[in-house]
């Protein structure tokens, strides 16, 4: 029997996140382990009168390509892939893996070559999403691999995922509409701030945010969701930050990252484990030492680190900064092949000051922002 929460998540993706309508062409991307959710999304899209199709692949194939492919094969993108990304009305990406470490032994330069070749495709997709020409939502179907990364049984992990998406009960769309109003109000109030100062264990960091747009991540582009984010002013990050949670990039972990910023650039970096990898990421390109994103994680259903950025960056009571690419739609101008989210746990002793005024303490904003008229 299908878990009713899978159907609810599918309904939420189709009805709330993508707002699919009659005749909309929807592509559903994922591995075969995502099939239960992919199928539920497919059914839900059919019921909405859309034109869904599945684009499912097998685990292990990318690994074969990265291991055995020639340069030409690594870089090959078919005309159909281009046409699809240029014409489909909606896309669901189900990030479920059968093995989250299947690429950990792949030669990094070959993987980078593959990513670099596919970046244009990703950029086109992102341009159409930003212009509102294409709806997109990234989500996850719980698998044993992700449960393993989270140190949970599959059943516990399912409970965690579905609670984070708020589909453990009926009325998920109403919940996310409410979240959307509250996050939007928070975003508007943060737009009046010129400088944020984050204070915590081994952390005292100032970030300029004057003139930048804050966006509410309210379940349209990700499920689960629940953050407000911007791209800080590229030259105005100063001070120190220590990230309590491991930083994970392409399946590799770096523990206890500490960074020092001057004039917006990382000038010192340390890690308890994976420091070489940290340095190689910082040296990736001209933009990889600059903060491209600053965000508050506000989903309090997500209360623990599970080694999956889709969830970790939204842990209620944390902030995260991403090194690398910024978001043009927030006013960000930093460009990089890197976008690496690093999460700073502020739940115990963190404080955040906005232009000198304390606005956040022990994992929560002190005051509710004024809700806008709906």
């Amino acid at each position: 029997m299908t878990d009713p929460r899978v159907d609810r998540l599918a309904g939420l993706v189709v009805g709330y996140s993508l707002e699919l309508g009659e005749g909309d062409v929807l592509r559903i991307d994922g591995l075969d382990v995502a099939a239960p959710l992919a199928l539920a999304v497919y059914r839900s899209a059919l019921a909405a009168g859309a034109r869904p199709y599945a684009n499912l692949t097998l685990d292990g194939l990318l690994e074969l390509l990265l291991e055995h492919g020639s340069e030409e094969q690594l870089e090959f993108i078919s005309s159909t892939q281009w046409k699809e990304i240029e014409t489909i009305d909606a896309l669901v990406t189900i990030w479920s893996e059968a093995n989250t470490r299947s690429l950990s032994r792949v030669e990094p330069t070959r993987h980078s070559r593959y990513i670099a070749a596919h970046r244009k495709l990703a950029n086109t997709r992102w341009e159409r999403i930003s212009k509102g020409e294409m709806a997109w939502c990234g989500t996850l179907h719980p698998t044993p691999a992700h449960a393993q990364d989270a140190d949970m049984s599959l059943e516990e992990y399912e409970d965690f995922v579905f609670a984070a998406c708020h589909v453990d009960e009926e009325g998920a769309a109403d919940h996310w509409r409410k979240v959307s109003r509250s996050l939007s109000a928070r975003a508007r109030s943060l737009e009046t701030v010129r400088e944020l100062r984050v204070v915590g264990p081994d952390t005292d960091l100032r970030l300029g945010v004057g003139g930048r747009t804050w966006l509410a991540a309210d379940g349209r582009f990700n499920l689960p969701d629940g953050e407000v984010f911007t791209s800080p002013v590229e030259t105005e990050t100063e001070g120190d930050i220590r990230f309590g949670f491991p930083g994970i990039f392409q399946g590799r972990e770096v523990d206890d990252v500490r960074l020092r910023f001057e004039g917006g650039q990382v000038v010192a970096a340390e890690a308890a484990r994976g420091e070489d990898y940290l340095r190689s990421l910082l040296d990736m390109d001209g933009g990889s030492r600059v903060v491209g994103e600053l965000a508050f994680g506000l989903n309090y259903e997500i209360d623990r680190f599970t080694r999956n950025i889709l969830f970790d960056e939204k842990i209620g009571g944390t902030i995260h900064t991403a090194l690398g690419a910024g978001f043009p739609q927030t006013g960000g101008t930093n460009s990089s092949g890197l976008h690496w989210d690093l999460i700073c746990d502020l739940r115990e002793e963190g404080e955040v000051y906005a232009d000198g005024e304390l606005i956040w303490k022990a994992g929560a904003f002190l005051a509710e922002p004024a809700l806008e008229a709906v």
Binding site: G49, L61, Q73
Partner: protein, 369 residues
């Protein structure tokens, strides 16, 4: 892993489709075919091609057929059409989890989807005939296939790989030798104008003048071993009894008897699935005509397993397909249907070519081979 999986992948990529540098290769299968998909994917990479997996996952077709509107059933994904327009090679790796998944679906809806997908079939045949596309269909042994064949999985694996001669030291050499034998018979059949097939419940004559007999030597089907043509569309006269049951779109039809007059089915009965049979032959104008007639010649396939890929090649059988013909045979029948029905000639049977006895009890007479 069963090393016969890797050998099958070698034969499919190296012999059946001859994948070369830069070839775009669609690999169509399902997740239960994963071991074979991965093996083929790797071989395609090694041959310098671009493997593009296209996986059908259980439940999607069923959901569309159960819940889709007419408009949704009639929608052909332009991305799939483009696949079929640009691919150099299609490799279809049948891998079923449930051969009866569509049993409960209204046949009219299956036909709608069949019509929707017709341009894909048309593209495959047209581009293949023009030499622009190579394709092959093979089967990965699964429990569902084994169950359909009344076998254990291990027994079915032996059957499938045995039919493909994958136990031989050099399977490709085996297929080349067998192919030469099939070509000889095909060339000889090409000199004949009319065939008459006589067996229990069967006395059918068909014209083949001007048509090409094609030896199937492991290229478009694997395993293989048949010689087929498109009979002259208006020529079929008489009756034929298909002693083997036929599964089509997950439906089983048993004991089919057809009577032809001037090439058209004028009477069709079945002991089981008669209504389905009627709805299939009423699909369109071409569904009442034979698009293919063939001799099954693979003597490593002796058992009926309810999978056409194997059944139509059983050594000592003939089969007739209602519906679309293959243009490369000279056949011109058009239809959304192509339904192979297999007639066992291994018991008492005779085939006459232009009045001369040429085949008896499942074998061509020695002097013609």
């Amino acid at each position: 892993m069963d090393d016969r999986v890797a050998r099958l992948a070698d034969v499919i990529v190296g012999y059946s489709t001859s994948v070369g540098e830069g070839d775009v290769v669609l690999i169509e299968s399902s997740p239960v075919g994963a071991p074979l998909v991965r093996a083929v994917y790797r071989r395609v990479l090694e041959a310098g091609g671009h493997p593009e997996p296209r996986l059908a996952v259980d439940g999607f077709a069923e959901a569309l057929l159960a819940h889709g509107s007419e408009e949704q059933l009639a929608w052909l994904n332009p991305a799939r059409r483009e696949d079929f327009e640009r691919a150099d090679i299609r490799i279809v790796l049948e891998a079923e989890t449930n051969t009866r998944a569509l049993s409960g679906v209204d046949p009219a809806r299956i036909q709608t989807v069949g019509r929707t997908r017709e341009p894909l079939r048309e593209l495959t045949f047209r581009r293949a005939a023009a030499g622009e596309l190579r394709w092959t269909i093979t089967a990965f042994p699964t429990n569902a296939g084994a169950q359909e064949a009344d076998m254990s999985l291990a027994g079915y694996e032996d059957f499938v790989y045995g039919a493909g001669r994958l136990d031989a030291d050099d399977p490709v050499a085996e297929w080349q030798r067998f192919g030469a034998e099939l070509r000889t018979v095909a060339e000889w059949l090409g000199t004949k104008r009319e065939l008459r097939v006589v067996a229990d419940g069967t006395d059918l004559t068909l014209g083949t003048e001007g048509r090409t007999w094609i030896p199937s030597e492991g290229k478009e089907n694997f395993p293989d071993g048949e010689i087929f043509t498109g009979p002259v569309e208006t020529s079929l006269e008489g009756e034929i009894h298909f002693s083997f049951p036929s599964t089509f779109h997950g439906r089983i039809v048993e004991d089919v008897r057809l009577r032809f007059r001037q090439g058209e089915v004028v009477e069709a009965t079945a002991a089981r699935g008669g209504q389905f049979l009627q709805s299939m032959i009423a699909m369109d104008d071409g569904a009442r005509r034979a698009g293919e007639f063939a001799f099954g010649m693979n003597d490593a396939i002796t058992e009926f397993t309810k999978n056409t890929l194997f059944d139509e090649k059983i050594g000592g059988t003939v089969h007739l397909a209602l519906g679309r013909s293959y243009p490369e045979t000279g056949g011109v029948n058009e239809s959304a249907l192509h339904w192979d029905l297999v007639c066992d000639l291994r018991g008492g049977s005779e085939v006459y070519a232009d009045g001369e006895l040429v085949y008896r009890d499942g074998h061509f007479l020695p002097d013609i081979r």
